[in-house]
Symmetry: C2
Subunit: 286 residues, 2 copies
């Protein structure tokens, strides 16, 4: 069967790298601190918030939560962002999105100081990932894909990668990060004719459309590496990815590899978020 | 033979669109004005500066030139950018690059006000083209590609596009603009293995590597559209594109199309630059 690229080991390796760095910060009186900003009480957000808080605690990071009612005016949220920016005790900020439709989400995202934008939501971070300007951070999910490939020793340079989905949270940024690592990258999406013809020719396929089990065996070929970024629920309420795992895994064969859902990239993303907070705290010491 | 996508007609159509707009601005006392900022006296820059000044004059735009010696300190250039930003009589700014290696080019580019960044060099413009934030302008060369496709009625939506070259001036931005128009886009480059295998499968190929006649007939197939962004000089000193035109044109066949060099995208780029200045002047009236 195909190699399972489970996230636990990747997270553990990242945590091993973080431990001495967090200790060094602690020695100078700094606890890397994540601000979580949430507008409203969406169950998905609350669930991820719990996960993030647990992971932060396990690693020795602090979390400060800022909660606003779903009908908060934009000015109130902006005041929170300004307070986060001004507070030297906060090193990184995670803000749940989408914001309520009444708000100008781009303006709010751009208000966050780039050096605290650990999930890559502001224009400076977007320019950073597009143009290697070195500002801000890439979205944590995009970096989680790269960390997973690296941990499992899957080469990227010169390889053919097809990214399914072109969102700003994952599709476009991960494409740019893979391009910077010298992959040949194709961005495919809902308007792509015969996407399967593209993906079957790839060495690595990144599935990031957010559609439950949308990609069946006809999209894949033996020996490929498949990164499934999807976190969806099927009609029965079961967590599943964008890939129809049970049907696809046998197609990939013993030389192939695939991230499962759950137990795949989701946990790595959480750890990468914490790694970004630590990195931001370190940068603040310089 | 393949259809020749000459630039003259595209420029003329753009100019026809600009004329009444420039007149309306003139009626309220506004002459759209381009600042050209040049450090040193590179022959290429001087040549393009003459071309730009002539085109501006023909269209009824004004040009203000800011020249600095090649050894000017960064602070002096920054003072010029600040003056450009502060001057309500200047609507757009074209700064020749690369800057001298002693300068922090990214910092200088980011200093230019996004609303005057008519060649898309600042991070805000880069984020704009990557993320559709609406800030700044795309690089003029990238927009010239889209204008040429549109003028000649070549569809983009759902088509396979391969972009050869991943520079920030053209490769990456034009890829993002084509993606936004629903093309399936592959970014190939110097590390791509067997780039010809990619390009032969494409509907549209954008050649943007800056290597004289680097792409011969083996890269192309009948019926394709080829956009040659290269402006190179061969060993004999003749202007030529990235495509080996004489060898490639017959391969494309009567259903194919190609931009020549010279007489192709270069002139369109100059006109797009002017169109961006007019757009900036109009935005300044709102």
């Amino acid at each position: 069967m195909a190699k399972l690229l489970t996230g636990k080991e990747v997270s553990a390796a990242l945590a091993d790298d973080l431990a001495p760095r967090i200790e060094r910060l602690s020695a100078v009186g700094v606890t890397p601190t994540l601000a979580i900003v949430r507008v409203g009480v969406r169950p998905d957000d609350l669930s991820y918030e719990r996960t993030a808080c647990k992971r932060a605690e396990a690693l020795g990071l602090a979390v400060r939560r800022f909660e606003l009612p779903a009908d908060a005016p934009q000015g109130e949220l902006e005041a929170v962002i300004d307070a986060v920016n001004a507070d030297d005790g906060i090193h990184g900020c995670l803000m749940f999105r989408p914001l309520p439709p009444s708000m100008d989400e781009r303006a709010v995202c751009d208000r966050l100081a780039p050096e605290k934008d650990i999930d890559g939501i502001g224009s400076a971070s977007l320019a950073g990932v597009f143009a290697d300007t070195g500002e801000g951070f890439p979205p944590a999910t995009a970096r989680a894909c790269l960390e997973t490939l690296d941990f499992y020793g899957i080469p990227v340079k010169g390889k053919r990668v097809v990214v399914l989905g072109r969102s700003l949270v994952i599709g476009r940024p991960v494409a740019m990060m893979l391009l910077a690592r010298h992959a040949t990258v194709t961005l495919a999406h809902s308007r792509t004719e015969d996407a399967a013809a593209h993906t079957r020719e790839a060495d690595i396929v990144v599935c990031a459309t957010g559609r439950a089990r949308a990609f069946g065996p006809e999209y894949f070929a033996p020996g490929q590496t498949v990164l499934d970024v999807g976190i969806n629920f099927d009609e029965a309420g079961n967590l599943c990815g964008d890939v129809d795992f049970d049907a696809v895994e046998p197609v990939l064969g013993p030389e192939g590899a695939i991230t499962p859902v759950p137990r795949g990239l989701g946990g790595v993303t959480t750890t990468v978020t914490m790694a970004h907070v630590v990195q931001a705290a370190e940068a603040g010491q310089r």
